[in-house]
């Protein structure tokens, strides 16, 4: 589904991604771990098409298309979803209205007719159950005055609504208490299918107890320095990131 080859990206003059290689297939969950400043969030942003980063080298193929050539909204329409680490507030725009606009834009891109109000509401009700979110929250201005947990749950709700092919969760666990973490993880697990894939970007192993990855990659100084199965996350937790750092220094 997604093939990243030797991806390098910089912000201003600082090289943040320094040759990333990654293959993600349909049905898989990949976890990207790493210490602060290793480039995890940058990778998520570059895949989503944020302008602040300049890709200097490498290529990214997504479902046979050159992803780096596509505008961010086209990437979204093609099926890439980013659950933001810090979801922004949009005053006066309810989640319902926002989702209706987004869903119909994506449907338009795919040549599908717009959903009418009844069909939309039905779909919304169904997805609300999935992520245990309350309708009153969805009628409020997007993310305005939401708690940390509500924001993240809202991100997963949007993911459920848009049914992306590739979801990227950028530190979705940060700032969540254990109950919120469980609800968010449950949502992600229920949305999992053999046709979609997920990249979970996280600092801690904690989230991976709830969302079990097929692969774990460790990012350090803009490169994937270690890959393995889910046990790698446990090893990291036990030994700490210094283990990776020391190992890298020795090399």
């Amino acid at each position: 589904m997604l093939t990243i080859k030797n991806l390098k990206a910089k912000v201003e003059d600082k090289l943040i991604l320094n040759g990333i290689n990654l293959q993600v297939n349909a049905g898989e969950i990949h976890a990207i771990m790493g210490p602060n400043g290793s480039g995890k969030s940058t990778l998520a942003s570059v895949l989503a098409g944020r302008e602040d980063y300049e890709v200097t080298e490498g290529e990214v193929q997504f479902l046979g298309k050159n992803l780096l050539e596509l505008d961010p909204d086209v990437r979204a329409c093609e099926g890439i979803f980013l659950a933001f680490q810090y979801p922004v507030e949009i005053p006066g725009v309810s989640t319902v209205n926002f989702m209706k606009t987004a869903l119909n834009k994506i449907r338009e891109y795919r040549g599908q007719p717009s959903l009418d109000a009844v069909a939309f509401l039905q779909l919304m009700k169904e997805k609300m159950k999935l992520v245990e979110i309350d309708q009153s929250l969805l009628s409020r201005s997007l993310n305005e005055g939401f708690s940390g947990g509500e924001k993240k749950r809202n991100e997963i709700f949007q993911m459920a609504m848009l049914e992306p092919k590739l979801s990227i969760l950028d530190e979705t666990d940060s700032g969540l208490d254990i109950d919120a973490l469980r609800i968010v993880a449950n949502g992600v697990n229920k949305l999992r299918s053999k046709n979609n894939a997920t990249i979970v970007v996280t600092h801690y192993q904690r989230l991976l107890e709830h969302i079990v990855p097929d692969f774990v990659h460790v990012l350090y100084k803009g490169k994937i320095v270690k890959s393995g199965g889910k046990e790698l996350a446990l090893e990291l937790e036990a030994k700490g990131y210094d283990w990776i750092k020391n190992e890298m220094e020795l090399v």
């Binding site: 989503a48 098409g49 944020r50 302008e51 505008d71 961010p72 909204d73 990437r75 979204a76 329409c77 979803f81 980013l82 933001f84 979801p87 922004v88 949009i90 005053p91 006066g92 725009v93 209205n97 926002f98 989702m99 606009t101 987004a102 869903l103 834009k105 994506i106 891109y109 201005s141 949007q158 848009l162």
Partner: protein, 481 residues
């Protein structure tokens, strides 16, 4: 951010939609302003002597006044002798039935999306159509007449209901109130008149549609609405003008008079030609609007969506004279390219326990300047009065300006005033968030701006709210990019 600015630019550079002209034969006065012109207008309209005298008095006051310069707008000196003060589309004097209206005129309004043929209108909205200086048609007259509601052109009101016009004309905005109001009082040519009898709740929206067509012409219309005890009316005005290279002057006066327990809701969607991308042409919109809450428990509510005009100078105000009366002002003002707006309100609390509420949302894009200017004045005897003001500014790009000039003057200690103000920019983060959900940049800006203005737009009558939303998006189209 560079990309952001590009989208901003694209959205703000959308061309004006109503910039066409039609070839209507016009009956015009010679250029310039003098007592003779005032007499010319009055005689054209076959007005009674008292009205001519009133006009002449206004003209003489105007001659002694100086143009106000305190607003935060810049424009070259206006040559008042270079303006045509009266222009009427030629047609058989005063059409009584719609069937007598020039088909070219009906087409003009249909082009604007306003049907003057009653059977075609699905919604219950009565329309008075004013082109250049005169009213050309008023719809649903008979139906309103059954309830005793008078809704007609100002000229007709002068002919048919002189006692009402004489009693209320200038009662809220005196003929010598200010420079532009005095000018209007001298040369006003038409407008709408509306009278709601005691206890009647007007069953449909009343609306006036203004269109400037002729070149070199000023438009000076007057609107007068009188709501008797316990009555209710919701009124809407809309306006457009052709694209012309020269600036055109529009100096209107609106007077609202609310008796005990009466309620007037006045909404404006102002879309005069704003000038081109380089600031050439456009309407100077210098308007005096004021409402008097004369009776206890009366209420006047202004809602305005200002998207057009090269310069806007406009402060719809409320005089809260009756005890427990209430004034409201909801405004969205959008400026783009080289537009300038200095707009706001004045709430004068005279009666006890009076309340006022101000919600102003400015949106500046391009190289425009947008100012909010508001005054809250609570007089000594207006005890236990309250005001809440909220003035928000939204900036798009980095070449525009937003300014706020609030004046607060409270003469007693039992009243409460609250003022909140914010300034924000459409964030790159907000736009990226929308993009990431598949919403393109233009739709994203429209979504964010409409969200920002929602509190005001929701005050508009339902179908106009939809229109206004589209208009906002259109005005800002091309301004992100």
């Amino acid at each position: 951010m560079a990309k952001d600015n590009q989208v901003l630019e694209e959205i703000t550079s959308k061309e004006y939609e109503h910039g066409w002209t039609v070839n209507l034969e016009a009956d015009e006065s010679p250029k310039g302003l003098s007592e003779d012109i005032v007499r010319f207008i009055s005689s054209k309209k076959q007005e009674p002597e008292w009205l001519l005298e009133w006009r002449l008095k206004a003209f003489r006051s105007w001659q002694k006044m100086v143009e106000p310069k305190w607003a935060n707008v810049k424009y070259p000196e206006i040559n008042y002798q270079d303006i045509i003060y009266y222009s009427a589309p030629k047609q058989k004097a005063g059409p009584n039935k719609l069937s007598e209206v020039d088909p070219e005129l009906i087409k003009t309004f249909e082009k604007l999306g306003i049907s003057l043929t009653e059977q075609k209108r699905l919604t219950g909205i009565a329309v008075d159509a004013v082109i250049d200086s005169v009213s050309v048609a008023t719809t649903f007259k008979e139906k309103l007449g059954e309830l005793g509601v008078i809704f007609c052109s100002f000229s007709e009101a002068v002919r048919e209901h002189p006692e009402l016009v004489k009693k209320y004309l200038g009662s809220v905005v005196p003929m010598n109130d200010n420079y532009f109001a005095a000018l209007n009082s001298a040369v006003f040519s038409d407008g709408s008149f509306c009278y709601i009898p005691k206890g009647v709740r007007c069953p449909m929206e009343l609306s006036t549609y203004f269109r400037i067509n002729a070149a070199n012409t000023g438009q000076f219309e007057r609107t007068l609405i009188v709501a008797e005890e316990g009555s209710y009316v919701s009124y809407l005005e809309g306006c457009t003008a052709p694209m012309r290279d020269e600036n055109q002057l529009h100096a209107a006066v609106v007077e609202l008079y609310a008796m005990k327990d009466a309620q007037i809701k006045y909404s404006t969607v102002q879309n005069w030609y704003p000038g081109d991308k380089n600031g050439k042409g456009g309407i100077y919109n210098f308007v005096t609007k004021r409402g008097l809450c004369a009776g206890d428990h009366s209420k006047i509510s202004w809602t305005q969506v200002e998207t057009g005009s090269a310069i806007t100078w406009k402060y719809p105000s409320c005089i809260l004279k009756g005890d427990y009366s209430m004034g409201e002002f909801y405004s969205v003002a959008v400026t783009n390219n080289y537009q300038q707006a200095d707009t706001g309100t004045k709430m004068t609390h005279i009666g006890k326990n009076t309340r006022s509420r101000i919600v102003s949302k400015g949106i500046s894009a391009g190289k425009s300047q947008n100012s909010y200017r508001g005054q809250v004045h609570v007089m000594k005897r207006a005890t236990n009065s309250r005001n809440f003001s909220q003035c928000d500014s939204l900036l798009m790009g980095d070449k525009c300006g937003a300014h706020t000039f609030p004046y607060i003057d409270v003469e007693n200690s039992s009243s409460k005033i609250e003022h909140e103000a914010t300034t924000s920019k459409i964030g790159e983060d907000q736009i990226f968030y929308c993009l990431q959900r598949g919403i393109d940049e233009e739709a994203a800006v429209a979504l964010i701006v409409n969200g920002y203005a929602k509190e005001v737009l929701s005050q508009l009558p339902m179908e106009f709210a939809v229109e206004a939303q589209k208009l906002l998006a259109l005005t800002l189209e091309g301004s992100v990019g």
